[in-house]
Each structure stands twice: as structure tokens, then as C-alpha cells.
Symmetry: C2
């Protein structure tokens, strides 16, 4: 099979066969097919699209490029978020669902660009090790019910190579490519159900509800095409989720919810958005795993949180993976951005808040950057909230060593709009798809 | 300037600026920009197109990637053909025009795929050297009025690198890319006028008159945008031009016309199609150079041919470039493909005839293949010609060493259709554009 013929077929808008895709992905993964042919195909896919069957076959080919974990006796469930700012639900929903008996094999990513990553957040817990091998991962899911790891070299190596190429060839924002990338990695974890949190808004990859819905529908179809129970929520990312954006501070917000304790001078009730979404997503996971009505699953999730069982499990998982929650370091200094007039917070540029974090080292500009666990941003007023002149809108939490304070301040000072009249509060959960 | 941003702009169908194109072409030529980014851009250009200004700027950027010959005192003219089978006009029109005083700096290509190349044909003349440096080339044009050379490393290196990449990434058949590739090389020769022979039909790159016309118009616009007088003929390639297809045999057909002598048992009048088109193209060159009416230029061209002046000049140029016409070797054996019924030759698959030549080594499958000057194919009956059962349709001229005889026979036996009723003879010159 000639690579050029496959490229030409897609260029003409024809559908590629399962064999075409297997050939292309396999040859690319083993190095026989050069980058320049893959990038030509990626651009042709970007511009000509792929039908459902092609996307399914592409997902399968990426899956076949590496190893696959299997849990024959279990019905494991995972969650995937399309990425946002302050999006910390994994740290809560995983122990909540696992405490209710749902096996959660959680393979997460790192932050890139303005969005954060679960691995970076977990690694702000001193000693926490996400570099486990697959047998250890599998064993921990089977014994503790929950394990957090990073993507290993063995899982979907094709995806790793293709994603790096897409990043430098202007072919990232393609629905079939995004779907195949997400779903191949998730299916490889050995899950039987997947809950999707598709973010929409200024801090999300998808800026409109229509785009988010198209992505959610496509992901659900591929999941179900591969025999997975798949459901999705489309949730608000017009502002960061909860109060904190960063690494240690996001873990702090989650621990506050898990332990029902204060954090940074706030009662845990202040973090209700984070708690609400995490509970809802974990309830969906529980309902899927146990095949029970969502309301019943919600009660179980709530009970696991309120009783402290979810916290106990989280602590146990941390300890098992070498992490010591007691040694978490938090920022010691604070710089405040205050409102210059009275009014209502009309909107935020949520992406700018993520970028402000990157300026301080809380995120990455390049894959090779290292992340500073300490600095963070506190969102003092949510969209729709009333504000008075001189009151804090944002707090930058940092240390005396934190770099990039001044560009972060600059970004935060210009990332919001204040309205004289009351504004509508954006609903946290915008749509439900299954 | 970020390469990815340029790729994204074209991907979205935006026009690229002169700076974008200069940056991309320069960085690619000097090796700073990797193949995979160029191939992503090429596919985006293929699918989203380029407007006239972009194509002009791309041509300029490719031109700027290398050296440029200049003839400040002269008004040199060249011809470019989009490529066909048995297309040997360069060997005639160049000495005819030059004999009339038109400086002809002829930089030609090699055959690739089913079409032949002037350099391969010239090299069938023992000793003929097309590897001259630019000062020698320039000097010969200034003294003899004609020089034949191959593209040097110094002329449009960007084009060479990009063409090789297009070939393996399914991005060859793109109007702006084709136009920029052709025109940058021609402009770099230092010409002030260009006559285009745009081929149309089963043996041409453009299969329909509409496509050929679009290509011709685009080439003319770019030529004129760069200050060149530019005119085009759209000519028939539904059958090979003239009688012979190959290398030495095509030179033989041309020498027969130039010397008014027999070749392979045929009177030179048999090769009237080759003569007619070559005379017309050279007349256009003469008319451009001298700024005289076409009819007057036609008389001059005819006189240069009939008087033997064109032949004298061709012989002189061959000698100057080391070639000895007397030592030309022709095939010694002949295999005939005969008609199996009476009728009229309705059509040929002209590309198949070119491929039959390749099977015998007369052309290249890969750029690195070497060409055998000896074997050739004779077209005994033109489209529209009457044929009787048992009469030859094609003759394969070869030696006892020629490989691929049997696949060539197979191709030739299935490359034509015979009709019971008379068929229209396709006009040689189908359209004239200026």
C-alpha cells in the first residue's frame, strides 16, 4: 500500500478503510513512515474530516499501537475532562466513586497551554509517584479500587507521536483527531464505562455550546462503538471551577472539601461549585458501575463524602503512591487585585487566568517546562457576583521566589468586566448527554 | 514568525503575505524548517488554494532562494511545455528561433513518470553535456544564441526540495504550486519572454480543455506579473506528437525534419505534426523577440528550417556541448503490433504509450533510475487514420538487450480503440492565449 495513495484519497475527501488506517498508524509508530507523510495526511483529515466509521477505525489503530490493560472481573469506570482552568474534579470524584466500590483506573495527563493537568496537581503532594508500571497500576486498582498514573510509553504510542506532530503542524483542532486521541487512551485503560466532562466557554477548548455538543456526541459514539457505557456533561468554563487555580492550592481546595475543613481562611462551603460538579460526575460513575438510578447513586456519593470515607481512601491511595499530604506546601505571600468600581462581575477571560498561572510557573508553555507546585490564583468573586470598589477580585498566592508576578498581575487586571446592572449566573451544568 | 501560525492561516483559507511566504520558503531551503511543517502547508495550499498575489509572491520567494541569470543586453525567449509523450519540439524550435537571431537560454528537465524530458533526449547524442555551469551557459547564449542545460543546484533550490516533497505527500496536482514551480525556474533563466505549450489529453497532465486553459491563464498571469511577455498554445496530447517516442528515435525524427532527410524508412514529410507545432512555437518566440507580426515571424522560421540554417546551428551547439550527431545509435530490431480488424483509429491512451516506454527503460519510474537512449516506440497510425487488419499500429524499436519488451507489448496492444466508422481528427492546436 502506497502512503501517497492513502494521502491522495483523503485529500479527495474519500473515506479511508480500516486497512489504510492500520497501515498508516502502524508504519508511523514503528518509524517506517516519515513525519512529512503523516503531517500531510493530518492536514487532509483536518480539512476533509472523517466519518464515524473512520474515526472508530482510527481509534482502534491507535489502540492497537500499544498495550492494553484488562480487568476481566471488574467494571471499571473513568472520567475524562476536555480540560479547563481550576478543573480539579478528578481529585474528588475518583476517591468518592472508589469509596462506593467503583474501580477507577485513572490515567491522567499533564497541563499544557492554559489548562492544568491532574498529574501536576498530584505531584504537588511531596513524594507522590505517578510513574507506575502497568502491572502495579492494575494491581492497585484491583486492591484499593483507585490508582492515579501518567500515560506510560506502552499505552497508545501512536497517539503520543501523532499528538506531538499535530502540535507543530497546525492540526490540533480536528474533531476526529481529538476524539481518536482521547478515546484510544481511555479504552486502553481497560475501563468499561466513561463519564465525559466537556468544558465550554472562554477557558475551554470549545468556545460555544454547539462545538462542545458536537465533541460530546462524537466521543459518546466512539465510546459506545467500542462497547463502553459513555455519558457526558457539558459544563461551564466561562470562569475557573471553584476558587483556586494552581497545583498545591487546588489540592488544598479538594482536601478542604474531602475533610470538611477550612482552607486559606475559607469555609469548605465556599467551594460548592467544585463539590457539586465532582459529586455529580462521581454519581454518574457509580450509577454506571452499579446499574442503579442516578438519584440513588447521588445519595451514595454524598454519603461517601460526608462520612469521610472518600477522604480516607484518598489518603490511603496517596500513601500507597508515596505521597504525604501532611507535607503539602502552600504559598505564603499574597498580592491582591481589587475592583476599581462597584458593580457585578459580568465576565472573565478564563484563558487569561490560566496564562497568568503559567507566567508564574504553575503551568507549561512547552512540554519540557517544569511546573512549580506552589503559586496559585484565587478567584474571589464568581461571574454574577456583586462587588464593591476596593474589594479583592483576585488574589495571587505566591512566595518571595515566584517569578512572573508582574505579568500575572497585568493579565489578571484585564481579564474581567464589571457591569453596573446584575448579570445572569452561568449554569454550572449546561447539558447532559448519554 | 511561527511556522504553525502560517500553516493555520492557510488552513483557515486566509491569504498568506509576502513575508509569510518568504519566511517559509527561506527557512525550508536553509534547513531550519522541517519537512513535516512544509508538507502540512503544502496540503493546506492544495486544499484551500492561493490567490493570484500569493502565487506571484510564492514564485518570487522560490526565485529568491537561488541565483538568477541575467542578460541585460538581450531579449531572450524560452518555451515551456507542461509535458507529454513524444513531445520533442524543443529540439527543433530552439535552433529555428536561435537561427533567426532569438537568444534561447534553454534550461530543461528530465523525464519522470510517463512524460519524456529534453535532457534525456539530448543525452542520447553521444558526448552531449548538459551539466554546464551558469557562466558557461550565459556565455554560450551570448555567442551562439542557444544553450541547452539542466537545472543547476543554484537555480531555485527551494523548488527542487519542495518538488521532491510534493511527490511523496500527494500535493503535486495543485495549480498555484505547479505555476510557481514552472515560472520560478523559467524567470531565473533571465528570459524576457516565454511561450507556453500547455498539453491537453490522455497523455497530458491536464485531461480537459478547461483545466488546461486554467493552467495556461494562471501561468500567463504570473509571467506577466513578473514582467515577462507570455503567450500560450493549448495543444493536443490525446496521442503522442509525431511518430516516435523514446530518446534517440525522437532525436532522429527531429534531425530528419532539420535535414529534410529520411528516417527509419520514412520521408521527413511524415513528421508534419512535429514540424508544424515546432514552427508555430518558434514563430511565436521570434515574434515576441523582434516585436513583429506572427505571420512575418512564421516566414522567418520556415526559411530558417528550409535553408538548413537551423540544422547548422543545432550541429554547432551539439559540437560545442561535446555531442557528436554522427555517433547517434538507433535501435536495430523491431516488434510490430498489428491491427486485428479494419477501421479507423478512434483513440489512444497516450499515457499507456509513455508507460510502455518506461517498461523498456526509455523513461524513469523513480528519479534515481537511469535512462536507456536506444529503445523507442513508433506510432504508425494517428488518431483518425484508416487501418486495415494486419497492418502495423505500433512498432517497438529495440535491441536484443532491451528489457521489458513483453509488458510494453501488452500495454501497446490495449492502448487504442478502433472504430468501424470514420472519426474526427483532433486539432493539433486547440487554443491560443496571450
Amino acid at each position: 500500500m502506497l502512503a501517497t495513495e492513502v494521502i491522495k484519497a483523503k485529500r479527495e475527501g474519500l473515506a479511508l478503510s480500516k486497512d489504510d488506517l492500520q497501515f498508516f498508524i502502524q508504519s508511523y509508530t514503528n518509524g517506517a513512515l516519515p513525519d512529512y507523510q503523516m503531517s500531510a495526511l493530518l492536514m487532509a483529515i483536518f480539512l476533509k474530516g472523517m466519518n464515524f466509521q473512520e474515526t472508530l477505525d482510527l481509534t482502534q489503530a491507535m489502540l492497537d499501537s500499544g498495550e492494553r490493560v484488562e480487568f476481566p472481573q471488574l467494571f471499571p469506570i473513568d472520567k475524562h475532562s476536555t480540560g479547563g482552568v481550576g478543573d480539579k474534579t478528578s481529585l474528588l470524584l475518583a476517591p468518592i466513586a472508589a469509596a462506593c466500590g467503583v474501580p477507577v483506573p485513572m490515567m491522567s495527563g499533564r497541563g499544557l497551554g492554559h489548562t492544568g493537568g491532574t498529574l501536576d496537581k498530584l505531584e504537588s503532594i511531596p513524594g507522590f509517584n505517578v510513574h507506575l508500571d502497568l502491572p502495579t497500576f492494575k494491581n492497585q486498582v484491583e486492591t484499593l479500587g483507585l490508582c492515579f498514573i501518567g500515560q506510560t510509553q506502552n499505552i497508545c504510542p501512536a497517539d503520543k507521536k501523532i499528538y506531538a506532530l499535530r502540535d507543530v503542524t497546525g492540526t490540533v483542532e480536528s474533531l476526529p483527531l481529538i476524539c481518536a486521541s482521547i478515546m484510544s487512551k481511555k479504552i486502553a485503560e481497560g475501563i468499561k464505562g466513561l463519564v465525559l466532562d466537556v468544558k465550554v466557554g472562554s477557558g475551554a477548548f470549545m468556545k460555544s455550546l454547539e462545538e462542545a455538543q458536537a465533541l460530546a456526541e462524537s466521543l459518546i459514539s466512539i465510546g459506545e462503538g467500542h462497547g463502553l457505557k459513555t455519558q457526558a456533561l457539558i459544563t461551564d468554563m466561562s470562569q475557573p471551577l471553584g476558587s483556586f487555580v494552581g497545583n498545591a492550592v487546588e489540592v488544598g481546595e479538594c482536601l478542604s472539601i474531602l475533610k470538611r475543613e477550612d482552607f486559606m481562611g475559607h469555609r469548605f462551603e465556599k467551594f460548592h461549585a467544585t463539590e457539586t460538579l465532582s459529586l455529580e460526575l462521581s454519581a454518574m460513575m457509580i450509577s454506571m458501575n452499579k446499574n442503579i438510578p442516578l438519584d440513588q447513586a447521588r445519595s451514595q456519593a454524598r454519603e461517601a463524602l460526608d462520612s469521610g470515607k472518600a477522604y480516607e481512601l484518598f489518603e490511603k491511595v496517596c500513601a500507597k503512591q508515596g505521597g504525604d499530604i501532611q507535607k503539602l506546601n502552600f504559598p505564603t505571600q499574597c498580592t491582591v487585585i481589587s475592583a476599581e468600581k462597584d458593580g457585578f462581575l459580568a465576565s472573565m477571560n478564563c484563558e487569561k487566568i490560566g496564562v497568568a498561572g503559567i507566567e508564574m510557573g504553575a503551568g507549561r508553555k512547552k512540554v519540557t517546562d517544569t511546573v512549580d507546585p506552589i503559586p496559585g490564583i484565587e478567584i474571589c468573586v464568581p461571574v454574577g457576583g456583586q462587588i464593591h470598589r476596593g474589594e479583592p477580585l483576585f488574589k495571587i498566592h505566591h512566595t518571595s521566589d515566584t517569578p512572573g508576578l508582574s505579568p500575572a498581575q497585568g493579565l489578571l487586571s484585564t481579564c474581567f468586566q464589571i457591569s453596573d446592572s446584575p448579570v445572569e449566573i452561568p449554569p454550572l451544568i449546561q447539558k447532559r448527554l448519554s
